[in-house]
Every structure is written in structure tokens, then in C-alpha cells.
Symmetry: C2
Subunit: 228 residues, 2 copies
DNA sequence: GCAAAAGTGTTAGGGTTACACCCATGT
DNA sequence: ACATGGGTGTAACCCTAACACTTTTGC
């Protein structure tokens, strides 16, 4: 029997929701509703009920942010458990990492949530900057080792989109030809034989899809996008 | 103000303590003291007090296992937060991963703790097998990307020891010559010019130490021991 | 001299990098 | 015809992988 005086901790969960609009990596921020730091930017967060699972908490947060919560990828990031994070008592924050298809989502109207360019982000309240830093490292690693970068993209996408996505996530330039070579050598992409004119005045670009079989295989066993 | 009915969760912490005795990878297991599953093997675990930090909980657990807690490496593994892990109420287990120098430690006498060969481990109680699986994956990754394998070894060690350690952690054979080549090309090892006869009847082996500077550099920036 | 483990090089192949020009389109 | 971004190939280098024999020691 666990002594009852241990049961005095609260659980919260913050989300780092990544998206990609074709040009920028974005995360969802929330405008804080309460004092202190009213209206300061923060990660979307909620208290987790004592009987509530983390998955359910994450999902309900996502539902409060987006109109339809389309398919998304979520995983646990880390527990931030410093005893003095919150003045009301001990609140352990189990941060979650999420990636979803920007184009398939829509923020709820009149909510306190908004997409924010990762490159141009204000400081967040509490320890949320630390959580974000952690999440960015996770993203970097995932992009390198798994075809997870692809949770970002619409069903059909151009080479440029995936190229830009990888450059932003890894925060480095990737040689166009080499990146293409590697990507296509992996059997991960399928040419749809469609093309699309992204901007007026220039050559239309090809549209690609994922090879689902290969995608799942690589998700399981991992691979190595070891760009210098 | 966070409403008070959230503060009903308890915090526990389990440790996966890895060690290496020169021949086997080991973890510390504990014999459970209470029913149900009295005397069943489990990961060393403790409840975390509401004001106690995770680091402090980990350290006190280590102190209860070992006579002297020498230098060790610990990091958070994952929070296991399923609401129904424990019948007394919600207990969130924040599992920790730890590596220490086997040769520099000593288990406390008459304790319920013991070293256990990873290759020959019984089933553990509750979700501890799941935690262990997670920890083994973490170890694998760490060994690949960082000179963390070296937290295992004594100050001076033979090539065979580090070779065996890597083989066990990665769970694959590593070609002796190629492994040696890679290891020495990294500037990470220093030849002590000492040698030691490990077993009678054969050639003594060289002793190596770490190049601390290089070690720290690689700890920060990572490297890539990508053995096939 | 024998048993046991330590220590040592080479080669072939594959992957990574660096790099510059032509192509298709809309105006 | 021109401006814009899309799309393409090659060569040098490096790293990896495969592989077997000699050396040193204690008995």
C-alpha cells in the first residue's frame, strides 16, 4: 500500500506541435489567459486529470486547438518535474511532441492559439523555452533517422517542399542534387506523374507521394540521412 | 490558481542501472519486499516525495543500493504514466537511466539488490520489462552516438573490454580490426604503455585510458559509430 | 613447442561531396 | 527573349567491410 501523503502531485501536459506551411517551420503557441504573464506566449498546455491518460489529454488539447484533428504523430518528449515549477504545488509537466499536416488542419476560430514561425519566436513563459529546445532537437534527430519528416507534408508535394522542410528541421543547407539523389535512392518517393505550377512564371514542379510500404518499413527500422 | 483536485497523483522513479563487469552487461534488480509478487524481481524503485526533485530521488536510490555512489551518468528515460499502473491511485513513474563503473562500486551487504546479467534476466514485475526494453534501446543509441560507453569502464582498460562492451550494447558482432581502427582514429583513446596479463597463459594486453579533452568534445557534439 | 589471446594491413566497393548548366514555363 | 525556378551527372575522395596470419606470453 502506497502511503497517501505521496498523492499530492498534479500532472500537466504541454504540446510542441510542429507544422510546415511549405516555407516555414511553425509551432502552435497559446496566449496565456491568466496572470501572471497574462497574454504572454506559451506552449498549449492543460492539466491532466488524475484518471486521464496522457494520450487522452494530448488529444483533447489538439481538439481544442484544431477544427479537425487529422492524423498526427505524437510522442512523449520528456517529463519536466522540477518541484518548484508552479507556486500552487508540484506540477509535473509531461511534454508531448506532435507533428501534423499543416495544410490539412485549421485552427479554431477565436481561440488563443496561433501558428508561429520557429525562426521568429518570442520567449515563452515558464520553462517552455527549455521544452521547445528539447523538441527541436528531437525533431532534428527524427528527421535524420526516420521518414517522420513526412508527417508534415500533404499527400502530394513537390521536391522543393521536402527539401525546404529538411533544411529547416536540420538547420543547414542541403545540396539539391545530393539530397534528391539520396531521397530517390531510398525508394521512399513515388512520382505521381502530375505536376503543378507553384508560382507563375516558371517551370511547373513534379508532385511526389510516399511509398507507404517503404515508408512503414523505414519507420520501423530507421535509416540514416547523414548529410554533412 | 490550479484547482486543488488535480493534486492527487503520486510520483515514483525506477532506475535502470547498467554496469559492465568485463564480460557481461548487467543491470541492478531488486527483490520486491511487498505483496503482491513478493520477492519477484523488479527495477530498483522508490516513491518520490512531493517536494523532492527527481535527481535527489535518483541519488538517494543509488545510495541505498551502493556503498559509495561513485561518479555515474544518469538521465531521464521516460515517464510511464498509464493511469492504472497502481491500484492505490495514480502513480506516475519517471524512469531513469544510469550507467556506472562496475569495478568502482559495491552493492550494500544484505540488501535486496543484485546485479543481473542482461542476457539472462527473468521477467520483471509490473511494467518494468517495458521500461527495461526502452532503456536498452537508449543504451544502444548512446553507445553509437556518444562516448558514453565509457562511463562503464575503469580508468584503464583493455581493448578487449571496450570491444566486448560495444558488442553487448549493440547486440552484434563487431570486426576486431575495424573496430580498433575506428576507435583509434577518433583520438579518444590514449595508450598508457602499460600492459596487463588478464589470464595466465597468453599475451598481456595493452591498457588504454580516455583522452578527456576529446571525450568531452565528442560528448557534446556526438559522433557516429555506425557499424554495420 | 603448444595453446591462447593480442595485435596488425590491404583491397574492393559503395557512399558522400562538390560542383554548373540546360530546361520548361509564363509573360 | 527573358526571367524564374526545376531538373540533371560526374569525378574525387573517404569510409566501410571483409578477411587471415603473426606475435607474445605462460606453461
Amino acid at each position: 500500500m502506497v502511503e497517501s501523503n505521496y498523492f499530492q502531485v498534479a500532472l500537466s501536459s504541454s504540446l510542441v506541435v510542429f507544422g510546415f506551411n511549405g516555407k516555414q517551420l511553425l509551432i502552435v503557441t497559446e496566449k496565456r489567459k491568466k496572470s501572471p504573464f497574462k497574454r504572454a506566449p506559451m506552449l498549449p498546455s492543460k492539466m491532466v486529470l488524475p484518471e486521464e491518460s496522457l494520450e487522452s489529454a494530448t488529444n483533447s488539447l489538439l481538439k481544442s486547438i484544431f477544427c479537425e484533428t487529422t492524423e498526427n504523430h505524437t510522442e512523449q518528449l520528456k517529463a519536466f518535474a522540477n518541484p518548484y515549477r508552479n507556486s500552487d504545488g508540484r506540477v509535473v509537466n509531461i511534454a508531448q511532441y506532435a507533428v501534423l499536416r499543416y495544410a490539412a488542419t485549421q485552427l479554431k476560430m477565436n481561440s488563443n492559439y496561433q501558428w508561429c514561425d520557429l525562426e521568429d519566436l518570442p520567449s515563452l513563459v515558464f520553462d517552455h523555452d527549455e521544452i521547445l529546445t528539447f523538441a527541436k532537437e528531437r525533431l532534428k534527430r527524427r528527421v535524420k533517422r526516420r521518414p517522420i519528416g513526412f508527417h508534415f507534408l500533404p499527400k502530394e508535394f513537390t521536391f522543393k517542399e521536402i527539401h525546404t522542410l529538411y533544411e529547416l528541421a536540420l538547420r543547414k543547407k542541403l545540396d539539391k542534387r545530393n539530397f534528391r539523389k539520396k531521397l530517390f535512392s531510398s525508394d521512399l518517393l513515388v512520382d505521381t506523374n502530375k505536376s503543378v505550377t507553384v508560382e507563375e512564371n516558371n517551370k511547373p514542379s513534379n508532385l511526389y507521394m510516399f511509398n507507404t510500404k517503404e515508408y512503414e518499413k523505414l519507420t520501423l527500422k530507421g535509416y540514416d540521412f547523414s548529410f554533412k
